[in-house]
Amino acid sequence: MKQDDRYTQAVASFGPALQRLVRGFEADADQRRDLLQDIHIELWRSMRVFEEQCSLRTWVYRVAHNVRASYVMRSRRLNFAAYVCLDELADMPDRDNPELIASDQQALAWLHQTLQRLKPPDAQVMGLYLEDIGAGEIAEIVGISPGAVATKIHRIKTILARMFQNGGPADGQA
């Protein structure tokens, strides 16, 4: 299969997921556009060497996350000390009042903010969990053990349960 065909297939299958990923990780609209373009270019380039070494989905997410890391480093916004890990997020008091998360829009806004303040590996696990990807594949994408992914997912579920406990959109408060 030719490079263009592989790329077209990847975008047809995972283009919306890439847009959600970029929207989740970048707050600024201009940077979102630039990052998405960089991801598409690198994805197209990478398809020259794609020989089904892993699933197409794993490949696409790896490229997307790595391009994003490279983008952050090039844009000189590198300051991981300012990010929090899942454990710290779980221990934080609920300044974002769960009662306020009463609509899908508010839920998405909270998810975006949370993804943007988490350290990259934790943010990636959370983003991939939200895309409904299994722990084994997340481990392949991020490059940490499946056990570590399972622990992080457990943390994420706890945090999500706490945040959406009182104000979930389906509680009729939206």
Binding site: T8, R20, V63, M73, N79, L108, G172
Partner: protein
């Protein structure tokens, strides 16, 4: 009345509106080629600068009469060729493949930054050092030539000040670059076990 079951937050996430694919394969190809052309243009400028130096000092082999200046020119040409070869094989950017796992990517990216940092820290060895013998001989030769010229005095010191100033400036700029890379390396290290 029983509350309706709350949807998985993943359903909300997946239901976000997305635009149709914002770029076509043709646009991707054009943008990728633009980037590639920019890299090739930068490389061509570097090689063209080296060719100019070689051509300039090559002409001095015939223009200047003293053996010291000729030997100096020859050594500068050799030093320039050495620098070009060194940059090509040892100091050029080595892109990290993007399809590996994130932690592997961070690890290899850090290694690449360390390699570049070493190149910046040792710039005196592979960039400045190879030019010193040739420039020294050329300057001494030029100085002797001017000593014998009528009404010349010793006009070489401004030239020396400029050359030494440029060398020190290049060295300090590279040290500064290496220190900036250290910050990125530390940040990447904080993500790795």
């Amino acid at each position: 009345m029983a509350k309706p079951e709350k949807p998985d937050v993943r359903v909300i996430w997946g239901a976000q509106t997305v635009e149709p694919n914002p770029v076509t394969v043709e646009q991707i190809r054009v943008n990728a080629n633009k980037f590639q052309s920019a890299v090739q243009r930068r490389n061509r400028v570097e090689y063209a600068a080296a060719v100019l130096v070689v051509a300039g000092f090559g002409s001095y082999l015939w223009i200047f009469p003293t053996p010291l200046m000729r030997l100096g020119s020859l050594l500068i040409i050799a030093g320039t060729i050495f620098i070009v070869v060194w940059i090509h094989f040892r100091a050029s950017a080595n892109p990290v493949p993007s399809q590996i796992s994130f932690m592997d990517y961070i690890s290899r990216y850090r290694e690449e930054l360390r390699r570049q940092q070493t190149a910046l820290r040792t710039v005196w060895l592979w960039y400045l050092g190879p030019l010193v013998p040739g420039l020294a001989l050329f300057t001494i030769g030029m100085s002797r030539l001017l000593e014998h010229a009528p009404r010349s005095g010793h006009p070489m010191w401004p030239f020396l000040v400029v050359v030494v100033g440029v060398f020190v400036g290049v060295w300090l700029l590279n040290l500064w670059g290496a220190r900036r890379l250290q910050r990125q390396i530390d940040e990447l290290s904080s993500l790795l076990p």
